[in-house]
Subunit: 329 residues, 6 copies
């Protein structure tokens, strides 16, 4: 397997392809134009400065462009930066595709799909099962491709499906521990809760917020769509209302975007499963990048906390040391 | 015109019909059952205690029952109370109807309907006009009958239409003062903003919250319905999205029930017009009940403030003194 | 099995033993003394008024006294109340004990102990295991007897052990789903997190706050005690500090009583497991008391929300209808 | 009419006069001194950097200095910047005055004065009218010249008078819609509410906060002055107290600077009229700078929101497209 | 010295004079009128119920009426209550005056006056000294008579002067410890900070809020008056502005009623001295009523906390036990 | 006495020794490495940039390194900066020590120790006195050397002891003014309240947070240690618990790090004395750097306020003008 950018250390030379995730024009304090490029491959991302950028450069080096770059990893304000020695846009002959540079869920798409299908198969309530099936059918492709968010957690290809499948696993176990939980309802809520993001976000590779995403948001978008799908399926029981409520309330509080707080047991537990999986995703990835005895960088979406990896983790996971990236040398 | 209960003073005898708005069972500290009745007529409401209530009484004296009552207005903990000397349920022969005991908007229903129609007629944007017309047609009857809320402001029959028509009048003037305002959009937002309450509230006379009202709320209910109506009318421009946004954002802040704050000029102004008309409605009615030089009772929905009526109001409105009710003697 | 007080309906006659949980003196509005008694058996509690209470009565009918009572279940302000026809203190010959009237965890004490032992047996980190064992040994008896709180959740005999064992079950599953979690650390944190309550609360049957409970609180009490136990065991690695941190941070935020927020992965997940088990405990017990289509009473510790039990729960759990108590007739 | 700086596009050459609004010394990262100049004309403002600034430059190029400048409009971090090719201070012979470079209210001063006079003429309450007249007489000149604030809304010459006149227009209409409003009181409150700013702010062209402005603020300053003016006029009725209350409470809440919230109807409505006119002023000016389908820049004083201009505004206002400035090319 | 009401125990007979502080009409649950009387003497206050009150009684037994009463101290809901056996209004021949029943500061008025005079004599800044002297002269009598508040702290006759004098003592010591403090300024701020209360409160014996107190409040009232007094004295230096700022900011934060926070050293320290003296006054009086090992009642103005008196206070203050009142028997 | 860096004005040449307090690597916008050095001597600190820094420089010029530097004081973004002409690490022959460059308390260490000893000598309660003595003995040296914090207040050598001694002086006076205060308890609380900082902070010269400081914090650390010390001394009375409570509650509120608010009189007063001394320390030092008529820089730990020094301070302290530093020229 090819070495990703996150495996480079300060001082290492780089010679290979990367994708531009973001490109911002700037002026030096002397008034010279330059480009700040956020470059990425599957392992993560790094910043680079293209000094003395021409007007032409500004047009060529834009988001989703793949480039070939030669340079060196240097340190700038406590972060790694890629110093550019040479840069050129990729050519068809290079045989590289955007999909090769996008971070993907750690679980293969096929496995995600199987697990999703298996969960739906377990469901017994016909109304809930039919609604869920209709959504899966309608959004089959993007559901398996989209990230769960633009940043913070599961912000990679297939992130949404990965998030759903992890939540389903927690739900399965909690349903066994607390048998009063209506598992069908909880499964349905989990699978549908964030599907509105497929309309809120613009694309898989470089997602931004769409106009409906900005003005309405994925929660009301999805409440509306559940009503529509249920009407098309001519389903009329209380299941429709309860499912809409679960989506509506899954952020937990009005100030977090849910006009109603959870008022049904499964809505309450859905909110917590969502929180746990999002936090574990952020935390585990941040802790992978530090050695025992160190603190992570500040995690904005976790109240800006830095987390500590205890020294005794070293004994538990001796293999972990090799994995460390250029952030620490 | 018949004297309403709010015109009675402490010590006055009462002999007439009233409607039970609410009936709650209680036990005296000696363990005797009694009923606390909230009685109302068009002028307002008063509490009464039915001592030594039988099981039969509990079944007869319930909400929406009209009763004939003899008694005296007494004072209990700074509030007027009706002391019951005799009580019986109204008979068909009495010729009294629920509608006779419900407070109504100060503007006749026909006038409200005309003003609503006139506003829609003024609209030029065909998409907005067609959507508004479809809603008016669909909800013609309840829209003219429902209150705007269960308490606080416009909580009387036709209250919703009264609120809409007052808001349209403000909107018309502000559109002249600030010509940048898109009046069609503002009118459409005003007319539709609270129509979800027709599904949120259970009835005109004694409204309570429905299950969809409790679990979803009138705002997402209406966002969904605008989408549905627009789809039926095959309207697809940005008007649909913007109208949904106006309804979604009209409470102004997430913690007040709007998952998105106003992000369009007319949504911002809609929020303020809604606030002004609601506050003027509460304030003017509370101030009518006090004399110059007095403070109103605390108004819960206005941060629990008591408002002062200046002494010089006496010079401005010498006729106002007669209107005062039993709260002040 | 004997019928508990929670199985009585309004109108049922009662003739049996109960324990006084709380006794408060009052005066009627006529100046007559009476006692408000909170009576309990294993199924739950009910209020009763002892009218015309003598000075002698005030001394006899106090907390933890078992009484024989004859009466009738009546309704007072939407709640059931026991109307007293006859009352006397229990005699030795009655053969009744306080323990018979205290609500117990739904899992037998032996099973709780076994599960606790099994979890400790699974632990591999010797420092963590030794500290946990020392605490279990030191507090063996109260740990199995105490409630987890005076009210809200797990507020019954063995409630603390029940809470710990449920949390361990969730922890086991989450450790499998997220293998990065240090299960030993999480287990140790769960077992110790609330042991300070054994010093914060005064007793099993009618727990109140002790002076150290009021002035220091169970969290700093336990931080101190972990330090002391570790010193006695001559354990000095980072495990001691991390365990103290887990206890210190398990309420999640400064305003909830944790001077430091979780800064270690397992501390973060401990906080969430604690929340989930407490909420499921409150919610499931509240929902057991209502029928499908009804809302629970307001749950103070869950932001004062009333939760809805969907109608389709009836299909899932047809047997549940019989279980309903006197709150609903 | 001459082209203002806001009409220049990126890449346009500039050759003309501007006024320095602010001048801040800086050092490049190489330790070379430079000046950051905020330049303005009537259409708006733009930033410019004067590299290699001499000590002499620092003394010459200061606030309120008019300069002749040659340069080019470039883009720096998403904002336009004026790149300087040549610069010199204006000479008497250039015939330019500070007043030519200050943004002015869109309504001529004479019209503002007339409208103000007309409103006072409408007033019937002699006490209120005399107090208002005394203030108008005392502050005639600055009242017509001052901005309403240093930034955010009506921050241009005659901004205060423009704000007052707009508010009076809204007040007139609301008084017709809600006849209970005491129009004289509302007019008086509107005219006086912000006059304290004449002492809070230092000047018309480059206003900063005075020492009384910083230590006392315009609200208590004005409460004191109303008392003083009324005493001089020997007016003693409740009107004085109520007027002081209106000024004191017009920010609406203690945390926004009003030690008492509005407790009189006209004080409440004054607060809302103030909010509406300020927001419409900010919003309309921000929306003028964007095309249909675009969002405005973030508006700090409106909770940092970006507002959207709907696409269908294009149909309503086809003439608007030409007005767009260099921010969009 | 006569035994005050606070020295009576539950069960004691009472036969003497008291003053009515408050009289509220009520109805029993059987509909019988009664009066709730708050009775006071210099030692404190007690509640009494006058059952079967006639219309005549309602007129006679009102605030500030002195009565002769026979009765017994009983316990009602954990508080002492005076059960009335006989009651009559005091006659001129009884020789009792309102002033005999009002709680007074623990320091004689003459001593308060002397200390105040001494502090002013210490001042060296002529402007500050002249302003302070003018206020002392203007308000000489009420300043020595008024309470500092209607409840919470120093709510007794001469309470305001007592509060000022205590604060001056703290100020003197802090000025010695931190010589940078401008003692003259701090003294002036302390003496003037609450003088606005003489206009905010209606009377010494049964103070309520005046209309200016409700609509403006003592802080802006005093800012205005300092301006007026300084103008009369023709004092114009910065001292006037700074003194106004000290009064304006002495509540510390906008949400506590100070539109500007302290921005001058002495204003900051004034705020803290005010807090300390108010808190010590509340706390010491509450702790006097409990024995070592007990908690005080909840103190509303101290975040509703109950304070603990340590057991070892018994050793320090063995004489304190006798002082305890009927709250504890 | 040698001139400290804070006495240099903009434009002055510098040639002498300083200590590096902090060294941060950076890259210019052209990609050249440089070091940002925070340099200090006893008078204060100044920033300097070392351009074109070699890898060797990064290793040599680190925290606590003493350097000899030649340069000039320049102004950069409103702050003074030291422009480097020449730099070299100090040699043994230079005879300079770290202690020479650290700011010290304005009171000599011996005097601090004497005052501390005197206060303990005044104590009468043997339990409290013995505990305090044990701590003083245990931490004698660091207690006299450590700062009270890393920034904001008393952030200099011996700062902790200086803070304690100032607080003891206030406590002595308040105990005289309010004789109910238990002075022994207050003294003990003051002396111990921040001793946990000796474990929270890493060193005297360049203090950072230790791992226990980050994960537990000085408050719970000290609660634990008081328990341990008391156990060693076999002291068991309520004094131990109350002392722990005083330390635990001295930040006043849960959100400020105290899981229990003060619930004992002396805990409440300790909290206020701590606040006053910290604020006076910050404020007096900030005001020393400005002239009458000026505002201080914003003080982050005082809600980001700028404080004003009145003009009339000039008359009171004519000698103060000479003391002004390079911040003002």
């Amino acid at each position: 397997m090819q070495k990703g950018i996150m495996q480079y250390k300060i001082g290492d030379a780089f010679d290979g392809f990367m994708m531009i995730k973001e490109s911002v024009k700037g002026l030096t304090s002397n008034g010279k134009p330059f480009l700040t490029l956020i470059l990425r491959d599957v392992s993560g991302q790094i910043e680079a400065k293209l000094w003395d950028a021409t007007a032409e450069d500004s047009k060529v080096y834009t988001a989703e462009q793949i480039i070939h770059i030669k340079g060196e990893v240097i340190q700038f304000r406590d972060k790694a930066q890629l110093k550019i020695f040479g840069i050129r846009p990729a050519q068809p002959a290079d045989g590289v595709r955007v999909a090769d540079f996008v971070e993907k869920a750690p679980v293969p798409m096929e496995e995600l799909q199987e697990k999703l299908t298996a969960a739906i198969f377990e469901m017994e309530n016909p109304a809930l099962q039919r609604i869920v099936r209709a959504f899966i059918k309608k959004y089959q492709e993007p559901l398996l491709l989209y990230p769960a968010a633009t940043k913070n957690h599961h912000e990679y290809a297939s992130g949404l499906a990965h998030h759903i499948v992890s939540m389903l696993a927690i739900a399965r176990e909690l349903s066994l521990l607390y048998p009063d939980i209506n598992r069908d309802l909880l499964y349905a809520g989990i699978i549908l809760h964030d599907i509105g993001k497929l309309k809120e976000l613009s694309s898989v590779a470089t997602p931004t917020y769409t106009l409906p995403g900005k003005l309405i948001g994925h929660i009301p978008i999805m409440v509306e769509e559940i009503g529509k799908v249920a009407a098309e399926l001519q389903i009329e029981g209380e299941e429709v209302l309860i499912l809409q409520h679960m989506v509506l309330s899954h952020h937990g509080k009005a100030e977090w975007g849910s006009p109603k707080p959870p008022l049904v047991r499964e809505a309450e537990i859905l909110h917590f499963i969502d929180l746990i999986d999002a936090k574990m995703n952020m935390l585990n990835r941040a802790l992978k990048n530090v050695r025992p005895g160190e603190f992570t960088e500040r995690l904005f979406a976790m109240d800006n906390r830095s987390f500590y990896k205890p020294l005794f983790e070293a004994e538990r996971l001796p293999s972990q040391k090799q994995e460390l990236s250029h952030n620490h040398n």
